[in-house]
Symmetry: D2
Subunit: 131 residues, 4 copies
């Protein structure tokens, strides 16, 4: 199932080219991922207190069109793979029907020592509930 999340482009997001600064799409799509896992019941504050955080491990992205100040963008997030150690998602940023940016993002869990660890079972269970 696809999770959708909306953002509006603000001044902070633009650069002197008059468009959204390329790195800021990574902020947008992380907001969408955070919203998605929160709705599934994954409490990232509690995870962090337990010494585990989500970190991005791999990213493949294409910039398909530009977005401008005041644009309303929709972000679609879909899980494409889940293993014992990693979660891979496909994300699309679009303005109406116009695709703007798409990315495949792989995230893993890291402990306080900075080492990758297996995804906690309860988080895997939450993610598996995704239709």
């Amino acid at each position: 199932m696809t999770h959708t999340y909306n953002v509006r482009v603000y001044y902070e997001d633009t650069d002197m080219g008059g468009i959204v600064y390329h790195a800021n799409y990574l902020r947008y799509i992380e907001r969408a991922r955070s919203d998605w896992v929160r709705r599934l019941g994954n409490d990232q504050n509690a995870m962090r207190e337990a010494g585990i955080v989500w970190v991005v491990r791999k990213l493949e992205a294409e910039y398909l069109a530009t977005a401008k100040f005041e644009d309303e963008l929709t972000i679609e997030t879909e899980m494409v793979d889940l293993s014992g150690v990693r979660l891979t998602m496909s994300q699309l940023v679009r303005r109406g029907d116009t695709p703007i940016f798409k990315a495949t993002v792989t995230a893993v869990c890291m402990n306080a020592a900075g080492k990758p660890v297996r995804l906690p079972a309860e988080i895997r269970a939450l993610l598996r509930k995704t239709p």
Copy 2:
């Protein structure tokens, strides 16, 4: 004595007005403050491990001129007041002789519970060494 620190303006710093986005001066002047205290011997990583972080408590700022992509800016930082609980600094961002931004920043120390605490004695001692 005045601490000086140089920054160059990059794409990430600009906005669609073609100038440095106003909030980014706060990033610039914090880089200068971090450089200043590091040179004095204040290890913020060690502070954080000890459960204490510097936080900004108050800020007064004036935007005097604009800065553009590729500009080389100099930041001057001076301590204007130091008490048992707070540190106040005056900071100026200039491009050559042209003043761009100036601010008075008051910082305090906060513990892991989010409560303000007295400045650690060793940090006060380091700061007092500033001529």
Copy 3:
């Protein structure tokens, strides 16, 4: 009349202190100002095409408490002064009833040459409609 605007704290907004990075409140309150003027009918894209942009001229801010990841914050914006050349607003960021950050922000209009200009009459008219 008070304009209200909501933001949620995301990963991008936090720093290693575990709280919202101080400069990011300036991003939050600008989102609120942009939302406020857009609702009044001020089209900042059209302004920019006409060679005029809003710029912040002065800022006085106090950090009253900290905000954390996932917090839902409300920003209240009120116009406190409007002259032919400047607009001054009072802004408060709160989490429920807890004040987090407050600021007084003065903005002016700047032309493409980087010079301050009088506020366009139609924009003053829009702002004056604010009860």
Copy 4:
């Protein structure tokens, strides 16, 4: 030939995980690219006045290790392909000999209407001078 560029990690770059926020590596490597082309003689301010800007078209990135506040990082940039319409670079962020982040970035030129255009001949000539 490899271009090298150094950055230090500041507070603004970190997130509540205590490490550099993942999107900020894109800012770091763009600083390196801007430094590289400026040294070759590519004036991005003049380009923009002529109605052309560089935009990122494609990005493939891997996060290999984490970086922390105060870390000094080195960014290595190498051109891997140059055609009439696009420039592809390989970039590595390392702390000493420890690789932290690597990316392949494809950039194109865009005109004021947001359309991709051929790379200006004088820019291709500058880039070809790279040994």
